[in-house]
Amino acid sequence: MVDVIVLIKQMPDLEQVKIDSNTREPMIKNVPKTVEILSEHAVEEAVRLKEKYKGKVTAILLGNEQSSAIMKKAFAIGADEGIIIDGYEENNPANTARVLATKIKEIKHDLVILGNQSADSITGLIPGMLSALLNEPLLGNAGKIEVTGTTVKVTRILEEDNIEIESPMPSIVSISQEINEPRLPPVMQIMAAGRKPIKTEKIAPVISKAVTLVSNRAPRSERKKLVFEDMDKGIPEVVKVLKEGMK
């Protein structure tokens, strides 16, 4: 039996984020939210562990009422319980970790699984911070997870070699993308997920001024946007432009 808490992040769909041409800031206001890529792999891995060792998968998501579609996706993959923590809207890793740790402490678990870094903010800080706050060992960048008795063994897949590390549970495991291929949930599970209740817990906003966001701007692009329509004339022209550019 392995009880797993899996942490899900929602993020704006990066394919649909446009950059404001004047301020160079990303326009994320009306962009639909989607499940962060590694979080989906994390849910898949948690469910695979459940299928292999039995136990329960609890998914935690920082979001709001609109996030239920993402939680339903986790249900469809196989999560048993889902908690949306509503009220935290910051993007500050230290605070995020605190909010999550507070909730995790309330739930009996053997493993906490999460992505090693999110696809949108890419800080990679949450696993380490959670480890410190919860006082549980961190096994990072897992490409494979195995459980024997009360011990968890993780294989980190590196470029040239694989490293195996293990620790007693409970522990925190951050995963890398290669760990699995998220499944396409069967329709019956998608339908059942739609009917499953989601717990939403309101929290008061956390205020901390440890790190503040100064600016978030895309570098100005230097694209010349030259179009060469005529194939025959175009190629020598392209070569000419490239040569000039290299000088």
């Binding site: 769909d13 394919e15 649909q16 446009k18 989607t34 291929e181 499944r183 396409l184 949930p185 069967p186 329709v187 019956m188 998608i190 339908m191």
Partner: protein
């Protein structure tokens, strides 16, 4: 009644009982096992037409002319021989003829005599095809069954001739208590000719010769009757009904009600309809389907014939078990996917319908393959990895591409096109449905631009939906993800209703087929034109004029038929007429119109890797090269993508161009 009459009567009763008992069993299976019902409309006119065309006139068989003629003669021979046999047994049992002498009996006995000779020739020809010429499409056929049947038919005809020749020689006078005799010469010309060549047998031998021929003939017939429903000759009974019951919607898989149903797609034999069972019963293993299958042709193991035959064998075996053990259906009915039908074969199908088009007994292979894909996708979440990405993209971006849907109409920027998502109150007469590929794919955007140019030149007041247009659901549906397809269709139908859209043009045959034939079931009636039909009409109505190709031009055009335009919607002429409007430098490729070879992209295959065997698109490009075509004209963005890619990867860039119909016309507008 004499002893012979009694024995023959008993034998015939046993044979008839055995025949009908087996029919009862398989009909019981077809009625009791399936959990789903086919789409059935009365449609009497169409049914009578196809019954006459495809059964009595053997219409679809002539797609393979030699085998077709042989089979048609065999079929007509069987019909007259059936009438003859009824009379034969009637005489034996009741000692007088059923058909009293007259015009009817004259016709029967004359035609039987002629056909008996033809059928013997047929039997020899059929044997030569199988064991001499070893025709490829028979590969893996059941040799014993074929040989046994041919021997039965051959013997039946030979013994008929023996008795008939004896009669012509006037030697049957003593046997009139069991056979008809004294036929005039002109009624049985072949026998008469034989009788004059073959010397009369000594009277002491006649007894043995006659009785051997008589008993072999009678027993042969009885064995045949018993054997028919237990072999591939079941098609004698099943195929005419299969043609009669054909749904007329072969290309369309059954809809799924996700609120009510719990078993999705076809997993075991319970998930087919009774009409599907007739399909299985009608199969004769002739192999025309597999012979024309693009996947099979390019070295993949998919064989539509084997899929049908494997399920038939499963129905026969599990049906028998179920009749004995009706309390535990879950134990009896085991999945057909995996064993005997390989998953990878299901994914190799391009849904091109060449198999369905070729099948003489009107079996619907493709919807069954899609239904088994559905079982994998909807029940188990199993699909090739690329298809999972396809589903994710359609779900998130309403197209097969992971591209921001708000940019869908960007190709039309600066082209002065009415975009309903930016200008919702604009007036327009026709909606131009662009489709995902022409909206997002760089090469295919040229099709959208060309269509725009033509419509504008013709003064058509049209609009596009821009970012409100979403994938029609076709790639998802054909890949087995009906859930996703259903979602997309509902969203689009909502848009059609809200915008009160009625008339639609599209340059994508996949969108065309969906919108025209499949959206009806979601409650929206659209008047849909493929751009080939529409442009052809603009030319013939003189709304646009097209510059003719100069007579000294060395250009040679050919046209590649899109499956979803051709076989799915029977549009073969419009594209050819468009090309004909500006040039006569046109030649057909080896496989064209209803026999056209697929490009390899249908059935969601555009978004899958083709790793087994060789590429279908390469085979097609080679056919175009064989006739030295300089421009291959397509009418489908999928075909464009596949053939343009094949042209490049097979190093034919210098000598061959792939152009959409709209592009060739847009360039020649005057």
């Amino acid at each position: 009644m004499n002893l012979v009459s009694v024995l023959v009567l008993a034998g015939i009763l046993i044979a008839v009982f055995a025949f009908f008992y087996k029919l009862y069993e398989i009909l019981w299976d077809a009625i009791k096992i399936p959990l789903k019902k086919p789409r059935m409309k009365l449609d009497l006119g169409r049914r009578i037409y196809i019954l006459i065309r495809n059964v009595f006139l053997q219409g679809k068989l002539f797609k393979d002319p030699f085998a077709g003629i042989m089979h048609a003669l065999m079929f007509w021979g069987f019909i007259v021989f059936g009438a003859y046999s009824i009379d034969f047994f009637y005489v034996t049992i009741f000692a007088h003829q059923l058909f009293s002498p007259g015009i009817l009996s004259d016709i029967i006995f004359f035609t039987v005599n002629i056909f008996a000779g033809i059928v013997i020739a047929d039997v020899i020809y059929a044997a030569v095809r199988r064991w001499g010429l070893k025709i490829k499409r028979y590969q893996g056929f059941n040799g014993f069954e074929a040989a046994f049947i041919l021997v039965l038919i051959g013997l039946l005809m030979l013994t008929y001739f023996v008795m008939s020749v004896l009669d012509m020689q006037g030697l049957l006078a003593g046997y009139t208590f069991v056979v008809r005799s004294g036929a005039p010469h002109y009624l049985e010309p072949i026998s008469y000719a034989l009788a004059s060549i073959i010397p009369k047998a000594p009277s002491s031998y006649v007894y043995y010769i006659f009785w051997s021929a008589f008993w072999i003939h009678a027993l042969d017939f009885m064995v045949f009757l018993i054997y028919i429903p237990r072999s591939k000759h079941l098609h004698l009974f099943a195929a005419p009904f299969n043609v009669l019951f054909s749904t007329g919607t072969q290309a369309r898989p059954l809809p799924i009600d996700f609120e009510k149903e719990t078993r999705f797609g076809a997993t075991d034999i319970r998930d087919f309809t009774w009409k599907d069972y007739f399909d299985f019963y009608s199969c004769t293993e002739c192999g025309r389907c597999t012979d024309n299958c693009p996947a099979n042709m390019t070295g993949k193991t998919l064989s539509p014939r084997d899929i049908i035959w494997d399920i038939r064998e499963t129905v026969m075996a599990q049906g028998k078990e179920y009749r004995k053990n009706r309390d535990n259906p879950d134990e009896v009915f085991k999945t057909v996917i995996g064993d005997p039908i390989l998953e990878k074969d299901l994914w190799s199908c391009t849904t091109c319908m060449a198999c369905v088009e070729q099948c003489p007994v009107m079996i619907d292979h493709v919807p069954k393959i899609i239904d088994m894909r559905r079982s994998l996708v909807l029940n188990q979440g199993k699909a090739p990895k690329e298809s999972l990405d396809l589903f994710r993209n359609i779900e998130s971006y309403a197209s097969p591409y992971a591209i921001d849907p708000s940019t869908r109409g960007d190709w039309a920027e600066n082209l002065d096109v009415v975009n309903l998502s930016k200008n919702p109150d604009a007036n327009y007469d026709v909606l131009y449905w662009v489709g995902c590929v022409a909206s997002y794919d760089r090469r295919n955007q040229d099709i959208a631009k060309s269509v725009t140019k033509i419509l504008k030149k013709a003064g058509v007041n049209f609009a596009i939906l821009g970012s409100m247009e979403k994938c029609t659901g076709d790639p998802a549906r054909r890949t087995g993800n009906e859930y996703l397809a259903d979602m997309m269709i509902k969203q689009n139908v909502e848009t059609f209703k809200e915008k009160k859209i009625h008339k639609v043009i599209t340059a994508c045959p996949h969108c065309f087929n969906s919108l025209k034939n499949e959206y009806k079931e979601y409650g929206v009636e659209l008047e849909v034109y493929h751009h080939s039909e529409y442009i052809n009409r603009l030319i013939s109505d003189k709304k646009i004029s097209v510059k003719a190709l100069t007579s000294d031009s060395s250009e040679k055009y050919t046209y590649h038929d899109s499956c979803y335009l051709g076989r799915y919607n029977k549009i073969y002429d419009a594209p050819r007429e468009i090309i004909g409007s500006f040039t006569e430098n046109f030649e057909e490729m080896e496989k064209n119109k209803s026999k056209a070879l697929c490009c390899g992209a249908g059935g969601g295959r555009l978004w899958m890797q083709e790793t087994e065997g060789t590429m279908v698109s390469h085979k097609r490009i080679e056919m175009a090269d064989k006739i030295n075509a300089s421009t291959v004209v397509t009418a489908c963005p999928y075909c464009m993508t596949m053939l343009d890619d094949a042209r490049k990867t097979t190093n034919r860039e210098d000598k061959m161009n792939i152009q959409d119909l709209s592009e060739v016309i847009a360039k020649r507008l005057e």
